[in-house]
């Protein structure tokens, strides 16, 4: 069905549009005639280096052979393939110093230098490395599956003879002709040939590439327009010569050779992979770049492997331990050399004179023996380095990631997307975030606009309140009602956007508007949340100024560039608009009774419904001119002729622009309207002002000739001329009113931002959108509020065409920054908050080497920072600046391909797995489906993971020091000969089995406080951000604890087992007995230690801790029962010697108690006299004080937040302060009167 897309009336947009469809001179000439274009082709930029690509259109076969054999459209983001996995993964593993060390040790273990048997060195290493590699393989497999999902998407490809059929994306080749339908993604970089519109225009959404929400217009060459249905491609051939693959999204150079004519190509004919076809029923295109050659893939940088700060610090600790290891080994080998030289000759029982050629124990060459011994010692004391630390951490992180993935409170029912930890390396980093850099569209907002309020002729209409107002109202209500909010309300706080306030359904808002907070606004019409009966169902007729209202509606219905589309099922119209705002206006107009129903080349038809007549009246408005919107003009207008022949200019635009252009008698409603606009702005709404102007016939025709002249002008200043012409008519306007559209925030965003702010996080918004939009969203998210001092940095408006323009602008920015810093410094009010709003242009200068630190320090001083119109590159640069400049953990969150750079650059990248493409998610470390889940991800999972990992690493070092050092002490008693007191098997099992599971359970299951409490007390998050659990003080404390334990274990055992008999039968203890007892003591002590470290015991921890101790005894039993040739001196040791000896049990008990004494004292003391925040919460929970004393609990919960200047809580606070201030001045003026000192309830 090739023709279905053209049900709609054909439109030639190029005739309607004024600015966007400017044809380049070359192509205009090309249209003029083939002969001309041929001659012109000679002057085209000749294919030079970097422009060697040749594409034979519609001849994919030509691209199967060299030299045109370009890569296929198959994309792969995996790190390994089957062949490279083993070598590459092994190489990765042994890049870790610790692993390399153990590899060397394992290699040496086959020689006689090693103090251990080879198996005891190789087995743990193989286990550890094998496990890590398995994890690596699993993660790569997941990447592969994701790639395949993309590769196996289908697209319609020309098969020959004018037939198109579905083909997998990865099979698409260069030269294929592809047909892409509406709302589909382009499978590769395409050259646009023709579209559903007659003049080959199509609309493209590039949000995935650059984050801009406005649709882009692309247009095909005139010459390819005839190829407009499937059959026409039967004999189509052409050759494209163009640039080689490169990452620049906005450039393209090349030409098309068709029927011996050459036509120049420019970026407006190129459709990039991962952008989406919108508002156009279909297009045909030729594949130019495929797979990794496409611009978007060229932009994809290899995602850097990120390591968390905790791990980096851990590496330093490992280096410290290595130093200790070397030191201890040096002492040991020195001791050995001395002993060997001085004493060994007299130790006849060692037969010192009979060296076995290896010089290992040769008194004659003590130096050499000493050097050999150094190697031995390095291996022997290797237990100081926890071999299993890395692998345990990896296991723990995978399990933690599993919990994150499984968390139902981060599971989005609508899309079915759970949260996903895509790399598990960064779990604990989530608990240490300092700055969040957020994208706007798709992340904070849904990119859906809702018509919410309007102001017409100075009267405000619209009763429903924006989310910001609702959130703030709730905040006030909850502060007032004190304890009425039920404990655990933290959760339903989210769920019922506006409900949950059964007790106080009506909250008075400022301005006397009663806002009903009930179950979220009635069954919603997409784009329309307006509620006010005064305007609905034609009631507006009885309002004071019905004429103005009528005009207002007509402006909404007529002044736009949208196309109506009949919905076959409902019979209503849906609109395809360039921006969602426009869509919202049309929906609003429709609901008010002004249904835009048809657009022709020259007219717009509106069905107007009046209460007086049952049938709607269809009116035609002739569109004479359309002056469309662009970011410079910030307004759009149409010139129409209505049915009465009256010429009207209808205009909508940014309020500041419109207000400047009002005529003297058009300012009737200016004061009221601007008051309303302020209110709307404060409520976080996007506002536009509407105005009109009546035109005289003569005036218009004069202008129109001028305008046509500009329109047809050639040369670079055509655009300037057009603008000038537009300027001439867009003045002397009469203000009609203003609209307020809610840029629909994603669910729960204000609350989430508020909580994150309370948790002490700074939030920066980086957006590709306009400054106004960004500021509005800033208000909506409470990142900005009235009374906040806004510092706006943007370059001067003057267009300096001098060569030192750059310098001048830079100096200007420099001055602005300096002034702003000065202003902040001089500010004395502690509550004063500053907001920095910076434009992308200004940012380019601010990010330059010499200025960036000044900029950063200014930005850090501001409570909120909003960067608008920033390119993807700049996002990444800003992120890097914050990351490197502050040295704190940054988190970047975004949803589109334009956020990829920032996501990769930040310490943690979070992708929103929403509706848009997968680039952001693919590049991210974590993906969530809604911004609001970020709170739980950070405040709950981040907090937990950070504490878990920190405690786990500390404990790991503790246990290995406690164990490893006993080996060293024993050396001193063996003449430093390198003999270990423990059996090889004990040592293998120590790290792998006997002490690993409890510590893993600590790392996976520990919870200092429950998730509800984490959310209720966001201030707890700062424990991680301040790194309280992994600072050097704590690490060294744990190491000292290990040292102490090792001393206790060794010397108590030695003292107790000294020389006397330990058995009833009179036998004395030999090395096996002492070694085994000592080892038992270690196992008991370290497992008891971990039990003391934990504060949360589920059956799993209990089983694992006790299980580890039990496993040790069971192992000893089993090992003792094995063949004496295997177990050696440990044969039946437990059964025959140790278990019957009371002294064995007595020692274990004593040592375990003595080892844990200092830690027990420490935690007892800390808890009793210097408790940390979570300790107090644990106690309150323990005594159930939160249930008994709910008032206290609620009060404290509201206090438990970081001093913040953003978020709606701060906004409410500011408002209260302001009212109190007013009250105080009143009190002072009305001295003598008694005044109630509480703020009135109707704040805000």
């Amino acid at each position: 069905m090739p023709r279905t897309g053209r049900i709609r009336e054909k439109l030639r947009w190029s005739k309607i549009y004024t600015f966007s469809c400017i044809r380049h001179p070359e192509s205009i000439n090309a249209d003029a005639g083939p002969s001309l274009s041929l001659s012109l082709s000679l002057s085209l930029p000749l294919p030079g280096p970097g422009h060697s690509r040749i594409v034979r259109c519609n001849q994919p076969r030509a691209h199967k052979r060299k030299p045109l054999d370009y890569p296929t459209n198959y994309i792969s983001t995996t790190k390994y393939n089957i062949v490279t996995f083993l070598p590459k993964a092994i190489f990765e593993q042994f890049r870790r110093v610790a692993n390399l060390y153990f590899l060397l040790a394992a290699c040496l273990s086959v020689t006689s230098i090693s103090p251990f048997s080879p198996v005891s060195m190789i087995a743990p290493l193989a286990f550890v490395v094998g496990l890590s590699m398995a994890k690596e393989a699993l993660e790569d497999w997941r990447r592969f599956v994701q790639d395949m999902k993309v590769n196996l998407r289908k697209a319609l490809v020309h098969k020959g003879n004018g037939r198109f059929s579905n083909k997998f994306w990865h099979k698409i080749r260069v030269g294929d002709v592809v047909r892409v339908e509406k709302n589909q993604f382009f499978p590769a970089d395409l050259l646009l040939l023709s579209s559903g519109y007659e003049d080959g225009i199509c609309y493209v959404e590039t949000m995935n590439l650059d984050g801009e929400t406005n649709l882009k217009v692309k247009r095909s060459l005139e010459v390819t327009l005839p190829f407009e249905d499937d059959r026409s491609f039967k004999d189509f051939t052409a050759t494209i010569r163009c640039e080689d693959p490169n990452p620049s999204l906005y450039t393209f150079a090349g030409n098309l050779e068709h029927e011996r004519q050459v036509y120049a190509l420019d970026p407006s004919q190129v459709l990039l992979r991962d952008s989406k076809l919108r508002n156009t029923s279909y297009i045909y295109g030729v594949v130019i770049f495929t797979g990794h050659d496409t611009k978007v893939m060229q932009n994809a940088t290899e995602s850097p492997s990120k390591r968390s700060r905790v791990e980096k610090k851990m590496d330093r600790i490992i280096y410290i331990l290595f130093t200790v290891l070397v030191l201890v080994s040096l002492i040991s080998s020195l001791g050995f050399a001395v002993k060997t030289k001085l004493e060994m000759p007299s130790w006849w029982y060692l037969q010192p004179q009979r060296g076995d050629n290896s010089h290992l124990y040769s008194p004659s060459t003590p130096g050499l023996s000493g050097i050999f011994h150094l190697v031995t010692a390095l291996i022997l004391y290797g237990y100081l380095i926890p071999i299993s630390l890395y692998v345990s951490i990896e296991v723990v992180k995978v399990l933690q990631a599993m919990f994150i993935n499984q968390d139902l409170q981060m599971y989005d029912e609508e899309t079915g997307n759970p949260a996903q930890a895509r790399t598990s390396n960064l779990n604990e980093e989530l608990g240490q975030v300092d700055t969040i850099l957020s994208d706007k569209t798709g992340t904070l907002t849904c990119n859906q606009m809702d018509f919410l309020k309007c102001s017409i002729a100075g009267f405000p209409y619209g009763l429903s309140s924006s989310e910001v107002e609702i959130a703030a109202a709730k905040q006030i209500a909850s502060e007032e009602s004190g304890g009425s909010v039920q404990n655990g309300g933290g959760i339903d706080y989210w769920e019922n956007g506006g409900s949950g306030f059964g007790s106080s359904p009506e909250i008075e808002l400022e301005g006397g508007i009663t806002c009903k907070i009930e179950k979220p606004r009635k069954p919603m019409i997409r784009g329309f949340s307006f509620e006010d009966d005064r305007l609905m169902q034609g009631n507006w007729m009885s309002e004071p100024n019905p004429g103005t209202i009528l005009l207002f509606f007509r402006i909404l219905a007529v002044c736009h560039t949208a196309i109506p589309e009949l919905d076959e099922e409902t019979g209503g119209f849906t609109y395809e608009a360039e921006s969602p705002d426009e869509g919202a206006f049309l929906v609003a107009a429709r609901e008010f009774g002004f249904e835009f129903c048809r657009r022709t080349q020259t007219s717009v038809f509106v069905r107007e419904r009046y209460p007086s007549s049952a049938e709607p009246i269809e009116r035609e408005f002739k569109i004479l001119n359309l002056l469309e919107f662009n970011s410079k003009r910030k307004r759009m207008s149409v010139v129409i002729r209505d049915e009465n022949g009256q010429l009207l200019l209808l205009c909508k635009g940014a309020d500041s622009i419109i207000f400047d252009r009002l005529s003297k008698n058009g300012r009737m409603y200016e004061a009221d309207t601007s008051k309303h606009l302020n209110e709307y702005g404060e409520a976080g709404l996007r506002t536009l002002a509407l105005a009109y102007r009546k035109l005289e016939e003569s005036e218009y025709s004069a202008w129109n000739t001028e305008f046509l002249k500009a329109k047809t002008a050639l040369g670079p200043d055509r655009e300037a001329q057009l603008e000038q012409a537009a300027d001439m008519i867009e003045k002397e306007l009469v203000l009609v009113g203003a609209t307020a559209v809610e840029d629909k925030l994603q669910k729960g965003v204000p609350q989430c931002i508020d909580k994150l702010a309370q948790a002490g996080l700074k939030i920066w918004v980086l957006t590709g959108d306009k400054m106004e939009t960004a500021v509005n969203i800033g208000f909506a998210c409470s990142l900005l509020r009235q009374g906040m001092k806004q510092i706006r940095l943007s370059p001067m408006n003057k267009e300096l065409i001098t060569q030192d323009a750059n310098k001048a602008v830079k100096e200007d920015i420099q001055k602005q920054i300096t002034n702003a810093s000065q202003m902040i410094k001089l500010e004395t009010d502690p509550h004063a908050a500053f907001a920095l709003i910076i434009d992308g242009k200004a940012l380019t200068y601010a990010l330059e080497e010499d200025m960036k630190h000044q900029f950063l320090s200014l930005a850090v001083d501001c409570a909120s920072v909003i960067c608008c119109r920033v390119s993807p590159k700049q996002k990444a640069l800003v992120t890097r600046l914050v990351k490197e400049g502050t040295g704190k953990v940054t988190l970047a969150i975004g949803d589109g391909a334009n956020d990829v750079g920032m996501i990769q650059e930040a310490d943690i990248g979070v992708g929103i797995s929403g509706v848009e493409g997968m680039q952001a998610v693919m590049a991210s470390d974590f993906s969530i489906s809604q911004f609001r889940y970020l709170e739980r991800l950070l405040v709950v999972h981040g907090h937990w993971c950070y504490k878990r990992i920190a405690q786990m690493i500390c404990y790991f070092f503790y246990k290995n020091i406690a164990f490893g050092l006993t080996l060293f002490y024993f050396e001193a008693y063996t003449g430093f000969s390198g003999q270990s007191v423990y059996d090889d098997w004990y040592m293998i099992l120590f790290n792998v089995l006997l002490t690993s599971l409890p510590v893993i359970s600590l790392g996976v299951f520990e919870q200092d406080v429950s998730s509800e409490v984490c959310l209720q007390f966001p201030a707890l998050y700062q424990q991680g951000a301040k790194n309280l659990f992994f600072d050097w003080y704590r690490i060294i404390g744990w190491m000292a604890n290990g040292l102490y334990s090792s001393l206790m274990i060794f010397f108590l055992n030695i003292g107790i087992f000294f020389t006397q008999a330990f058995l009833r039968g009179g036998q004395t203890a030999d090395m096996a007995a002492i070694g085994t007892t000592m080892f038992t003591c270690i196992i008991c002590a370290v497992n008891m230690q971990i039990a003391l470290t934990m504060s949360h015991f589920t059956w799993i921890q209990i089983v694992l801790v006790w299980g580890s101790i039990a496993t040790w005894y069971l192992f000893l039993l089993a090992y003792g029962e094995s063949s004496p040739l295997v177990s050696g001196d440990a044969f039946r040791l437990l059964v025959e010697a140790l278990a019957p000896a009371p002294i064995f049990w007595a020692v274990t008990l004593l040592v375990a108690a003595a080892c844990n004494l200092p830690y027990l004292i420490h935690i007892s003391y800390q808890r009793l006299y210097n408790p940390m925040d979570h300790h107090v919460i644990q106690e309150i929970k323990y005594y159930k004080k939160d249930v008994e004393d709910q008032i206290m609990w609620t009060r404290e919960r509201s206090k438990a937040r970081w001093a913040t200047k953003i978020g709606f809580t701060a906004r409410v606070d500011a408002k209260i302060r302001q009212l109190k201030g007013k009250l105080h001045s009143k009190v002072s003026s009305l001295s003598g009167q008694t005044v109630v000192a509480t703020p009135p309830p109707d704040v805000l």
Binding site: R153, Y349, Q420, W944, A1019, G1055, T1059, S1095, P1142, K1199
Partner: protein, 349 residues
């Protein structure tokens, strides 16, 4: 039109992970995945802290007293003989004396028993500065050969004492080679006391680690003679001296069981020990002692365990008292919100 429908769902389906994420209904598993398992969350309240320390202390001190008492009740007599047993003329050159096999190493020592000793009385020899735990020494043995004798050929682990005169040695290795060979005989007023030299080794060693049919072979035949010789007619499993010796000691000072006297010795009795002072400890200046001791449930005499228990226990009690005092004097109400950092900070400012 099938393409229209297909495309809209296709583009949506293609772009997101449509992983069907079915919340598991099973309650226990649900609680597990939501990290919501029932848990015990003990809190160290002052009461708990004080009680814990106190109880540990209260348990430890009596245990220590019992151990100390047990150790005190053991009667132990020690006699160092390495110097005394060398005749005066040789005292300046002890090594020459001990190496000279032509001189008789006979020696007699008189030991006065201070307290009544109840049978069984254990006889030990004690050596010091003797590194039985040296790696070269510990590794120089072959458990397989000890069990299988000549049938097991690979004795490389016994270096440097694996062969002699081209023939394998059974038992091989430095440990066996350096077997202790002083011998003692005890005489009391009434006559010679019988010394039981059976069952001095660990039962499992005798039965499972030393072959019942493995007899010493080519032992101490080399140019270097180490310690004692073994009777080639007796299987290793019965050579208990060797078995005891082969359990290497952990410390350079060690005792090993020599035999058991199965009769009581009264207080103030004088025991005469006839000994052969064969073993060379003079090269490395090690002492040799003979030890007679009784034993009880705790083993031999060593007050360290008792003292350690008492010390630890006392310390625990002291800490408990200290905490109690601080708590009484300056109690911190538990779960007091004023201790939160945010409250403390606002107080400070």
């Amino acid at each position: 039109m099938e393409m229209e429908g297909g495309s809209s769902s296709g583009s949506a389906g293609g772009t997101q992970t449509h992983r069907r994420f079915s919340p598991v209904r099973s309650r226990a598993f649900y609680k597990f995945t939501q990290q919501n398992l029932p848990a015990c969350k003990p809190v160290l309240t002052p009461g708990w802290v004080i009680m814990t320390f106190l109880i540990v202390g209260i348990v430890f001190v009596p245990v220590g007293l019992v151990c100390l008492h047990a150790s005190e009740s053991v009667v132990e007599i020690m006699d160092r003989y390495d110097v005394e047993c060398i005749p005066e003329p040789y005292r300046s050159n002890k090594i020459a004396y001990i190496k000279d096999s032509s001189i008789s190493k006979n020696c007699t020592r008189m030991i006065k028993v201070q307290k009544h000793m109840k049978a069984p009385i254990y006889i030990y020899y004690e050596l010091d500065n003797y590194y039985q735990n040296h790696r070269r020494y510990v590794k120089s043995r072959s458990d397989k050969q000890l069990l299988y004798g000549l049938k097991y050929k690979d004795t490389s682990s016994c270096k440097p004492e694996e062969t002699s005169n081209g023939l394998p040695i059974v038992p091989c290795g430095l440990i066996a080679w350096s077997l202790f060979n002083d011998s003692y005989a005890f005489v009391r007023g009434s006559g010679e006391m019988s010394v039981n030299r059976k069952n001095i080794a660990w039962k499992s060693d005798r039965e499972h680690k030393f072959g019942k049919h493995v007899k010493p072979f080519n032992f101490q035949n080399g140019t270097l003679i180490g310690g004692g010789k073994l009777d080639p007619s007796i299987p290793l499993s019965d050579q208990e001296d060797l078995i005891v010796w082969m359990r290497t000691a952990a410390l350079p000072t060690f005792r090993k069981l020599y035999g058991i006297i199965e009769e009581d010795i009264d207080a103030d009795e004088i025991i005469t020990v006839h000994l052969f002072n064969n073993y060379n400890t003079y090269s490395f200046g090690g002492k040799k002692k003979i030890v007679l001791t009784t034993s009880n449930w705790l083993g031999g005499k060593n007050g360290f365990l008792g003292m350690a228990y008492i010390a630890t226990g006392t310390f625990f009690i002291l800490i408990s008292v200290l905490f109690a005092l601080i708590h009484v004097k300056n109690p911190r109400p538990h779960g007091d919100p004023t201790y939160w950092s945010w409250n403390r900070k606002s107080n400070a400012s």
